[in-house]
Amino acid sequence: MANEEVKLYGMTLSPFVLRVEWALKLKHIEYEYVNEDLKNKSPQLLHYNPVHKQVPVLVHNGKPICESTLILEYIDDVWKTSCPLLPSDPHEKAVARFWAKFAEEKCLHSSFDVISNAGEELQKAVEELQQNLKTLEGYLQGKKFFGGDIIGLVDIVAGWIPCWLPMIEELVGVTIVDEEHLPLIKAWMHDILELDVVKKTMPPLDKTAAHMKAIRENVLAAKST
């Protein structure tokens, strides 16, 4: 579409920002990326997201849209013709939204628990994450991606799994996804990492690992005082 101004306020290490980049690139939408230093947020970010003051924020022709999953739906609403992220069938659409919510509320949040714990608590957090991933795996049955033959909303929302989970496993020294217990998730992770859009936008692994390590150390230190 001509005369579209699309800006994405983001941060290179954020899985929430990465989601939006995937959607923009899949739909071949041209955009300007504005990198934020979250310790020194720009006046523009604070103006566009006064409620949460967070990235990502998509600014489309001067109008800001916040919250990554909402941005994904917005992008799908506006740029309808290429690469639909949601199915057109109302029931399938509702099911996709349900699993996107589950992936976010259960799987992502369990991963935070894994990063923030050690010892017995870590083991409990790992088991909970594995259970949640097993539940999510049910939605993959008989499909290459959650979206079917091509990736959709749920793949994008769960996209942190192939990109971040291996780093989490290394950080805490525990295997979370293995072929024996989560075969479909394991295969899906591999297939996601093979996609061009993912390869082109992979976050810098060393910086991301260092960032995650620092978060873990701070949280564990705070717990022990």
């Binding site: 409620v51 489309h60 109008k63 849209i65 916040c66 919250e67 909402l70 941005i71 739906e73 917005y74 609403d77 506006v78 109302p90 029931h91 659409k93 509702a94 099911v95 939204r97 349900f98 919510k101 589950f102 539940t135």
Partner: protein, 226 residues
């Protein structure tokens, strides 16, 4: 095609109220399957095995869970009937969804503290916090309503349902604390909206009496304290 629509829920649940309003707006006839508070039926456990929660909509044998997902589903399926619930403009739709998240993630936990408060004083302190968190919605209403009665404009829309479902519970909190959640001088637009919404045909036929909410609140508190 003969439609079979069933709704598993509890009449006091704000999340179930959301779905009932959406179905009423669209003129959809449904069978109400009322759960018993404190226990979960086989039908519920079978149709929502992941969360085991209400509401669950069963439409021609297919299940849909999560209240605002169900509301959007109802809007999609019965798009030709009644008013549009989700705004047609993508930006307005994103705004409605954003503030719906805010209501559930930021406002509702603050409201929850009112119900958990062990003393009247504790409830009052918590209510002040919850009232403060409603403040941003006054400006949102001004922008979204474009001078009309609802966030959705002339008719009840997505954000009206997301917030309005809580009105019975809000009135219960007002009775328990003596405070007004929608002060006519502080948030005049929201105060007017609340009256409009509460008296709307799609809402009043399914909204229980305030005293029933108060009684239920006492029951929940007793359960929390046990």
């Amino acid at each position: 095609m003969a439609e079979e629509v069933k709704l598993i829920g509890l009449s006091m649940s704000m999340f179930v109220i959301r779905v009932k309003i959406a179905l009423n707006l669209k003129g959809v006839k449904y069978e109400n399957l009322e759960e018993t508070f404190g226990s979960k039926s086989e039908v519920l456990l079978k149709s929502n095995p992941i969360y085991k929660k209400i509401p669950v909509l069963i439409h021609n044998g297919k299940t849909i869970c999560e209240s605002m997902i169900i509301v959007q589903y109802v809007d999609d399926v019965w798009s030709g009937a009644g008013p549009s619930i989700v705004p047609s403009d993508p930006f307005d739709a994103a705004m409605a969804r954003f503030w719906s998240y805010y209501i559930d993630d930021k406002w509702f936990p603050a409201y929850g503290e009112v119900m958990k408060g062990q003393t009247r004083e504790a409830k009052i302190e918590a209510a002040k916090e919850a009232i403060a968190k409603l403040q941003p919605l006054e400006e949102v209403f001004q922008k979204q309503s474009k001078g009309k009665d609802f966030f959705g404009g002339d008719t009840i829309g997505y954000l009206d349902i997301a917030l309005g479902c809580y009105l019975g519970w809000i009135k219960a909190a007002e009775k328990l604390t003596g405070l007004e959640f929608f002060d006519k001088s502080e948030t005049p637009l929201l105060a007017a909206w609340a009256e409009c919404f509460y008296s709307n045909d799609a809402v009043k036929c399914i909204m229980p009496d305030v005293d029933e909410f108060v009684e239920f609140a006492i029951k929940i508190q007793a359960k929390l304290n046990a």
